[in-house]
């Protein structure tokens, strides 16, 4: 869910039409989405959670399990159970995913895995249950908001970015004009980077807020209708006038003639040209424009 919200917000910022079609990217991107949902707050109606986390076990039991794990298991499987130099990640193991209270873990511990170098362990049923409860406290999901993240996305060279800006961007933009103070106006460098890459009409303040896309429709009799582009497909074009009133004009192939003026066409044209270093450098430069 959080994933989809994120996509929706960013897609809006990027000026992508959010139609029913939006579901199609989600077919891929949202496939693990439910994993990211937080547990519902007490008393609130429960939101849909694709794979609900396990109910919290007795803290004393978990603490006992942690002690057993730390002494016996962490050396190979890692303190976080995501695997070490020797032992595999056991959070995602089919045995532990299906295990409820140590009942599937127990036979593995009793016999060990001699072929893989895992010794056997003689735990009581209660100890195995405690161990299971501890291992089940780890979040089982691809996305996990509690994971450590890189401190910043700013990895470029500001000097090189300035040079690139002068060669590729300065034809339209100026750090003393439209982009004055852009580094101060944007506290999130990643948001800044996304928005200078692909600004959008009507975006919230800051970097590269673009003028709206406009359209000129030349009718068969020579009459011109101009204004902001509402929507366009192969069959109609909708033009909005200065008051926001819309006029929809039927299209039939090349009649009437439709010319779209996309103020961020320059940004689109640069997409295939940038190197990632160019992008990182420009961002490193723009964050210094205070």
């Amino acid at each position: 869910m959080m994933r989809k919200t994120e996509i929706a917000v960013l897609a809006t910022l990027a000026g992508i039409a959010l139609t029913a079609n939006f579901e199609i990217p989600a077919q891929a991107q949202g496939r693990g989405g439910g994993n990211k949902q937080a547990a519902p707050a007490t008393g609130a109606p429960a939101p849909f959670v694709a794979y609900p986390p396990r109910p919290a076990a007795d803290p004393a039991k978990v603490a006992r399990g942690k002690e057993i794990y730390t002494v016996n298991c962490a050396f190979c499987h890692g303190e976080d159970a995501r695997g070490g130099d020797v032992g595999p990640n056991i959070i995602r193991s089919q045995i532990l995913l299906n295990d409820k209270d140590g009942e599937l873990l127990s036979p593995v511990l009793e016999s060990g895995r001699p072929a893989q170098g895992m010794p056997n362990f003689k735990f009581t049923a209660a100890q195995t249950s405690d161990l299971s409860a501890f291992i089940h406290t780890f979040r089982v999901a691809g996305y996990d908001v509690t994971r450590n993240r890189p401190a910043t996305i700013v990895v470029g060279d500001a000097k090189a970015g300035e040079a690139y800006f002068k060669s590729a961007c300065a034809g339209c933009h100026s750090v003393t004009g439209d982009l004055k103070g852009i580094g101060s106006r944007n506290s999130d460098p990643r948001g800044l980077q996304q928005r200078w890459l692909m600004p959008t009409a009507g975006g919230r303040g800051g970097a590269g807020q673009a003028a709206p896309t406009t359209v000129t429709v030349t009718m068969a009799n020579g009459q011109k209708i101009e204004g902001r582009l509402g929507r366009i497909d192969d069959f109609v074009v909708t033009v909005l006038d200065a008051d926001g009133l819309s006029q929809t004009i039927r299209r039939n192939g090349d009649i009437p003639k439709v010319e779209i003026h996309d103020p961020i066409q320059g940004h689109r044209d640069l997409m295939p040209k940038y190197t990632d270093k160019n992008i990182h450098d420009v961002t490193a430069y723009l964050v210094t424009v205070k």
Binding site: Q29, G34, A46, P150, D234
Partner: protein, 547 residues
């Protein structure tokens, strides 16, 4: 006559009256639509000609029908039958959108969305029955439709059950577990019935192995299981993984239906991404077979016959899960049985479908930049610099792919293969700092930077070259699937909410109707002497015909 008699002798008595028999499923696409792609070839090419270029402009609305989901949805003249293993307290979000095939057999349409199935009267769109499944949870992203055998329907539920319904009443016959909910599988694909096999794939976004299973249509017993990644020591594909544990968590889900070649008994299906999808260090340096591949499985044995990997060691979730399309024709002057696919990764492939021999690769997207050149097998060579970056890597395609599950089509009349295309870009940010990498789809965040354009693209399978391309006005979006017919028509939804008929020879627009964003691939069938065009927008079906 002889073959008819043989067919009757071979089939159990219950099939004789009404339902779908094995012969019906072997027919080229025509009056009925009894399987996901209409027929086994995946071509979505209908032999019907009543509707054609000369009269398509007269195509008119016959009826509109909306399907109401969840328990207590009744009130549309049908009965809601409730099944399921859940408590009924969990109501999944995600809307009630028809994103799959609608079967049409003997004047009845069979429609599914996650947790819901309906029988709809194909003559006027009214509901005959509704089945609702109380879910345990799992990812509710879509449902690709049902399979039918005799009078028995088969549908997958998001929480991984294969449910068999009586097509006449909607009453449940049985349900069987496809995969374990606790391992975070989710099941969306359409079961494909071949002979007495019900072929069932599933999905997973944690790190669990891809599995295709064959169920007995009568009993629901599992006949065989095929894993798309090595599950045992000694597997010949194991050397393409870091170790057995990595392989056993390596993904490769078969979440879109494949095609079937009756001559060779090969089920040809695409496999999904290796897992973990992005931070691939735990997978080793190898190709990670048989993920992101087109694979051929003998339906009698469940054994792999050949494979071709479209994205070796994929790092962008570029599932090769598009329905492969069977094409018969000449290649380099001699007859060839081929299979073709335009992959999510932006590359097009023609293969020999008897052997998997590689024949053609082409880059059909202008924007794709994740690979540098082709390897000795004709597969794109991944550029590791374009995996991701802490500062962001600008990559095309975005996660949704240049194309995705939306069905392509092939016309033997034009000899062209048609694919919905979106040349999209995204910034891929590495967010995982742990050198062991992340699990599942984790470890990176991807932010869209829009599209360089969306197209309806016609590709020549002999060369991989683009024969023509229609650019949709606007700045991108993912168009839906396609249908082509012997009436020399090509149908598809555009990005503006229109269902459109094109000339398959050149992309010229012949007819359209604005119905709202099209959510599945259009279909056609014959009923009472009239040819229909059927297409869904959200929870609503639109049937067009000629009077």
């Amino acid at each position: 006559m002889k073959s008819l008699l043989a067919a009757f002798l071979a089939l159990p008595a219950f099939l004789a009256a009404q339902g779908v028999d094995a012969n019906m499923l072997l027919k080229p696409l025509g009056d009925a639509w009894p399987v996901y792609s209409g027929d086994y070839s995946g071509r979505r090419y209908s032999s019907l000609t009543q509707l054609n270029q000369s009269n398509v402009k007269n195509l008119t609305l016959a009826w509109v029908g909306r399907v109401a989901a969840n328990a207590g949805a009744g009130g549309r003249g049908g009965n809601t039958i409730v099944g399921g293993e859940g408590t009924g307290e969990v109501v999944a979000g995600g809307g009630n959108t028809i994103k799959g095939a609608v079967l049409q057999v003997n004047g009845v349409l069979y429609v599914a969305t996650p947790d819901n199935a309906w029988a709809i009267d194909a003559r006027d769109g009214h509901e005959l029955w509704h089945y609702f499944w109380k879910t345990r949870g799992a990812t509710h992203i879509g449902n690709r439709g049902m399979g039918i055998y005799g009078n028995w329907l088969f549908v997958e539920t998001p929480d991984n059950y294969l449910v068999s319904l009586d097509a006449r009443t909607g009453k449940e016959r049985w349900h069987k577990t496809i995969a374990n909910f606790e391992e975070q599988y989710f099941s969306t694909t359409a079961p494909i019935v071949v002979g007495n096999h019900v072929l069932v794939g599933t999905g997973n976004d944690l790190d669990e192995p891809g599995v295709l299973q064959s169920f007995d249509p009568e009993s629901g017993a599992v006949q065989w299981k095929f894993y798309s990644v090595p599950m045992q020591a000694g597997d010949p594909a194991l050397s393409s993984w870091k170790n057995l544990d990595a392989a056993r968590h390596g993904g490769g889900q078969m979440w879109v239906p494949g095609s079937y070649d009756p001559d060779t008994h090969l089920y040809i299906v695409g496999t999904g991404n290796p897992s973990p999808a992005y931070t691939s260090v735990s997978r080793g340096e190898g190709d990670n077979l048989y993920t992101c591949s087109i694979i051929a499985i003998n339906v009698d044995t469940g054994k792999l016959v050949w494979h071709y990997q479209t994205s070796p060691h994929d790092t962008h979730d570029s599932d090769s899960a598009q329905t492969p399309v069977l094409v018969d024709g000449t290649f380099n002057g001699r007859p060839r049985k081929m299979v073709v696919t335009a992959s999510r990764n932006g590359y097009y492939f023609t293969l020999d479908r008897l052997t998997g021999e590689h024949l053609v690769t082409s880059k059909y997207s202008d924007s794709v930049n994740w690979a540098k050149g082709l390897d000795a097998n004709g597969a794109p060579k991944r550029d590791p610099a374009k995996d991701f970056d802490i500062g962001g890597a600008l990559v095309s395609p975005a996660n949704s792919g240049i194309t995705n599950w939306q069905p392509p089509a092939y016309s033997p009349d034009t000899g062209l293969f048609y694919v919905p295309q979106n040349d999209n870009y995204a910034m891929y940010y590495l967010t995982e700092t742990d050198p062991r990498g992340a699990m599942g789809l984790g470890g990176k965040e991807e932010t869209s930077v829009g599209s360089a354009g969306s197209y309806l693209t016609a590709i020549d399978p002999k060369t991989g070259k683009i024969a023509w391309r229609h650019r949709y006005p606007g700045n991108g979006g993912s168009p839906n699937g396609l249908l082509t017919t012997a009436g020399k028509l090509l149908f598809g939804g555009d990005l503006g909410g229109n269902i459109v008929a094109y000339d398959p020879a050149n992309g010229k627009i012949l007819w359209h109707s604005h119905i709202g964003q099209v959510s599945n691939a259009p279909e056609t069938y014959m009923l009472d002497g009239h040819q229909y065009l059927l297409v869904a927008s959200g929870d609503t079906l639109f049937a067009f015909t000629l009077y």
